[in-house]
Symmetry: D2
Subunit: 409 residues, 4 copies
Amino acid sequence: MTKANKRKIFNDPVYGFITIPFDFILDVIDHPWFQRLRRIKQLGMTHMVYPGALHTRFHHALGAMHLVNEAIEVIRSKGHPISPEEAEGVTLAILLHDIGHGPFSHALEHSIVSNIKHEQLSLMFMQALNKQFNGKLTLAIKIFSNTYKKKFLHQLVSGQLDMDRLDYLKRDSFYTGVSEGVVGSDRIIKMLHVYKDQLVVEEKGIYSIEKFIVARRLMYWQVYLHKTVLAAELMLVNILKRAKYLAEKNIQLFCTEALHQFLYHTYTYTDFKNNYNLLNDFAQLDDYDIMCSVKAWTTHKDFVLSKLCTDFLNRKLFKVELSPKHFDKNELLKLKKQVAAKHNLSLTDSSYFVLTETIENNAYNPENDKINLVFKNGSIIDITQASDNFNISAISKPVKKYVLAMVRI
Amino acid sequence: MTKANKRKIFNDPVYGFITIPFDFILDVIDHPWFQRLRRIKQLGMTHMVYPGALHTRFHHALGAMHLVNEAIEVIRSKGHPISPEEAEGVTLAILLHDIGHGPFSHALEHSIVSNIKHEQLSLMFMQALNKQFNGKLTLAIKIFSNTYKKKFLHQLVSGQLDMDRLDYLKRDSFYTGVSEGVVGSDRIIKMLHVYKDQLVVEEKGIYSIEKFIVARRLMYWQVYLHKTVLAAELMLVNILKRAKYLAEKNIQLFCTEALHQFLYHTYTYTDFKNNYNLLNDFAQLDDYDIMCSVKAWTTHKDFVLSKLCTDFLNRKLFKVELSPKHFDKNELLKLKKQVAAKHNLSLTDSSYFVLTETIENNAYNPENDKINLVFKNGSIIDITQASDNFNISAISKPVKKYVLAMVRI
Amino acid sequence: MTKANKRKIFNDPVYGFITIPFDFILDVIDHPWFQRLRRIKQLGMTHMVYPGALHTRFHHALGAMHLVNEAIEVIRSKGHPISPEEAEGVTLAILLHDIGHGPFSHALEHSIVSNIKHEQLSLMFMQALNKQFNGKLTLAIKIFSNTYKKKFLHQLVSGQLDMDRLDYLKRDSFYTGVSEGVVGSDRIIKMLHVYKDQLVVEEKGIYSIEKFIVARRLMYWQVYLHKTVLAAELMLVNILKRAKYLAEKNIQLFCTEALHQFLYHTYTYTDFKNNYNLLNDFAQLDDYDIMCSVKAWTTHKDFVLSKLCTDFLNRKLFKVELSPKHFDKNELLKLKKQVAAKHNLSLTDSSYFVLTETIENNAYNPENDKINLVFKNGSIIDITQASDNFNISAISKPVKKYVLAMVRI
Amino acid sequence: MTKANKRKIFNDPVYGFITIPFDFILDVIDHPWFQRLRRIKQLGMTHMVYPGALHTRFHHALGAMHLVNEAIEVIRSKGHPISPEEAEGVTLAILLHDIGHGPFSHALEHSIVSNIKHEQLSLMFMQALNKQFNGKLTLAIKIFSNTYKKKFLHQLVSGQLDMDRLDYLKRDSFYTGVSEGVVGSDRIIKMLHVYKDQLVVEEKGIYSIEKFIVARRLMYWQVYLHKTVLAAELMLVNILKRAKYLAEKNIQLFCTEALHQFLYHTYTYTDFKNNYNLLNDFAQLDDYDIMCSVKAWTTHKDFVLSKLCTDFLNRKLFKVELSPKHFDKNELLKLKKQVAAKHNLSLTDSSYFVLTETIENNAYNPENDKINLVFKNGSIIDITQASDNFNISAISKPVKKYVLAMVRI
């Protein structure tokens, strides 16, 4: 009976069950660096608007792995061999594609760890794991960094229609309850094909792809760039910026050890490259470090920090306005002065409470990478060209909006 | 315990439960003319492609009634009074909006009952029921025919965003299994509002509406105008045309009594208006009359009829090609000649096996009637203007395609 | 691109997609005898109570096939080889296990075709197909009739936990909307194992099995033996009995050709065995023959027949009472006399309007065949013994009820 | 447009949308004490086994509120008036029924706050809120503590079939992905009735109730008492016990302020009663305090603490065995000695790594409170008596199991 008992299955409200396809994958999942993803929410503070959105990067990584395995089966069944080694490689690549994310990644990258991207960290983590596991991730790293000969394997991990994207759209819409964002991942995967080493979609999948892009756009406006979600995120960015500012002035702050290190020092990409321990230190950080510090800071003597933290924690969030054009600088200055006056702040400090940002919703950007359809006659056409009206090419134009966020007065 | 037991509940896989809101509604549902809708499939022969698409006009009518009742509750909660009489009226209007449909409506209207529309028949049925029920449907008829003062009630029954459309899109996508067509009816209804006696949608519902229109477009191409669905429908049209042709030549055909009457006579709108019995005769027709005659005709001595019926029944369906432009007449003639030669037919008769058609997918046509959004400042804007890019106005352009359908040779 | 286009996919609201695993399977599906299952509803007249219950034996057969293929994959992954030939065999066996069903099977077997079981007909159909397809179904027939060496393959097709049962429970609960009957087929299949050539369930599946049995019991009382469903079924039985009775007296009845043959003649098992054409004639019968005749008979001059048919069609169904003990004979006689008096009938004829029946709900009967659990230590225990309380063995006791059905007076 | 914009709607993956029925409810939800429930997971460490089980007490409270409002509507429609004040009262009572829960409630109550129950704290919170809101919760408190005249309102909040239970079963099965635990809350609520001031279920709901009890039992074994869930919970209990032990010895521990207070002091029910601030201090505690301290303690110099925390965090969980009878004391001692030897521990300290527990699964206990069915003739019968076999009364017998949990050696 042994074999049955070793094959680990994860329950997943989204797909039902997720099976681990290779024994080695389980070793990687069991690694503390990967387990840590259980403590990092996929959507940061989005749960302040959508209370169900508490799913983690751990679950998303498993979900994306599940879709890659379905895609492998479909592609094989259409006559494109994928060896067991390649299957394991692409599975590991997708599983680890987000391992470099810190807690509240967006906020963190705009405050504390501002000069290094999560993709770079993911690669470093994979390389470090490769050492620990005696080279077993070599092929995965090649696929992840697109240096492996079969390019379509990389496209499954990273591209306009990768399994990462399919899973997060489906998972995010599931947990937020925004059912309109649900993507027909089943159908899209069944329509995948490989043509001249490119991942393509069969002709009859055109409407599914169109719907996928529209759903993605909808998720952007309704979830990722939702006004109140932006408000919470911008507050957290400012909280961390202020904490960093105070740390630089050597003012004492309650901190977990892991957060202390990154608050009181500033590390560069090179520091990480040269110092394996630093990576491990970074791997100690998770949502708990941030939130428990924010909670402690509600009583800090610095007014800016404690006010931001208290409002954030009790969900007295910034008011957010969106506009198609730049906000007027004089208007902004007036608002800052109002806030400064009310709370007895310097004009500089009032910037923590009145700020502007730019957001962009780019549901499908054919300039980077295309979604290609393959027709029965063998021709390959980009979805914007193939669709029977201007719809997709219309959506392909990115939409930029200007954000004004400020404390409620 | 009586009250609880009178309030009838229908199980519905789509919404869970459908409650009958007024006792009189149940009397109408129990009427044989309405019960007959249990025997008329909503999507005709679509189940030949999507085997689950067997749902009936009966279930759809109950579903649309359910949504109207949810919409009434939402609109009332936003400060727009709807009296119990008006609520019953609009409920009856939506319940009966499709009662004029015959079996395989599209096919029937293109062959046997070609000069009268189902909307006209629906109105006649409602008027006849009104007599039988002593005027209890007077208000419903006013709402249905848009002569009642509160125009928004009519818009719930018939308009760009009526509850008919919301239910059929949701129901059709549910039963076909084309999950991408699923519409967020819940959210859309929650966003309904009334402004200057117009049904409008709150500003924040904009992406849901956009998604609704895209889903509708997708359902057109993927289901309603699916090649193989068209093939089956066009075959049935030709079967009924041929049967009518033979009947006009007084050739004997196996027939149910109800079908016999409409096959061997041709009635006009005026005939129906002047003859109450004719309406009742029409109400005897359902899917069983058509299909059981088609089955019998598989052995008819007329080759055209029996060949069409046999192929249809055993799912040897026409081959269908779609094109953005007219098919060449000479090409068509050549094909007809081929078929005529193969089956030893006259060129005229070969037209039953080679034919062309035009189809149009008009997901949202603002020329007829608009979907209006209301903004916080009180302004009203058509969705094509309000959307943040060209997307909706792109979709609003109807797409025409040309169809060539022919027997497989 | 050819390979991708040949692999046919069916949409299914229950599982999403059903893939045809072998090319030959598609040839069998395309056969008119199998296509006919598209016109036979799985649950007969149940849709009179649950309007969504219109799914066909065609769709169920595809669904059961889908589950068998999932089971094959699971069993293989646990180290039990199943050859491609065996996989195709068991797939064909499950696909065709119900092909012997006539329309409204239960009603038909209690009236017109009363001396031959559908399992016998299924086998005959399979044998006839085997001839037509040059022996390609030989292995399937062995598995179906349990003469193949690997017994567990037969158990997948027919047993206490076969894929037939899993699919119909899931499908019936889905389409009726009785969501409580939904079975965790995914989980049960993942827990399947083979031990000493027996299909068994892993220990940790115990609660899923318990739930499966409870769900089955619930479906019996709530759907299969629902009072109003019984009423409709018993009326149809009596309609067909009366028609048969009139036919035997050589009274003319509107009839489709196929129905005529079985109404005006009585065939035995041997007749079928000796006459291949008879099987083909039987294959012409479907729901349309029955319902369209019932509709015609509403105006037949025989009062018993026309009254039954009219009431049936317009859903004026029998009143049904259930009781744990026999109904009193004198009471019954009194009721029959009442009905006879009211409608001016002989006492004999009144039996068409007042009748009794016995029903039994046997959710799990370990006397026939057991559901066995396999424990980590390798021991095998029947579910009734393994469950941690009396629950399952309690359910295993069949429940008998007595039915009184009669016309409303 | 104002009215529409004030009526707040929450997205919920389980029910779609949750509407706030009264304006005052939103004030209570906005209170920091209630917002804190956003940071307390409903199922503690269950997500270590079911990664989706991250839903919070906040979401559950909203869900239970939603069900209460559906129940109110059903009960009213059956002729039992419930005034708007009563509706608001019962809504507030269910919303706040769990507000007394601390983080990882089970673990906390077995370690740090061991002498006071969460129900008592809930009541104190409600009383304190009542003061803050000038008596607006008086009726809610009466209903919650069952001193209001209409007893059935209390039963909606707390009883064998309360809305709390319905929501948590449904929500827990949804987020764990254990779809077999899903309860037909819709149907059960539709079957609710009030008879002699008792909440009862209509006769025809009997199978739904049976299914509800079986689903509850399944959730106990499969989720709440799942071996690995027990392992994680028992480790957390021991971590907190050890921390408390060290605190009592005045050894320094990294701590959030809120946790520090409850770790370094021991409070009684009377302390809480007499000190309003203590309640507010308790309200500062949430999952973040516990987890972030556990993380810090992984490097504490106390071996017992750091070993437990490190293993816990990296998911090296205790091995758990279940048995129907007591574990042998000598056997236990032997195991403790093994552990003591391996890690160089005193025998006393080895008890942190080898321990026993008792668990009980009592799906339905008619001794406390019954689920009553009302029959058409007006009689009321307990479900165990009404069910047509021994099933329910079998399930009603509680099942006790003995647990042995220990570190892996």
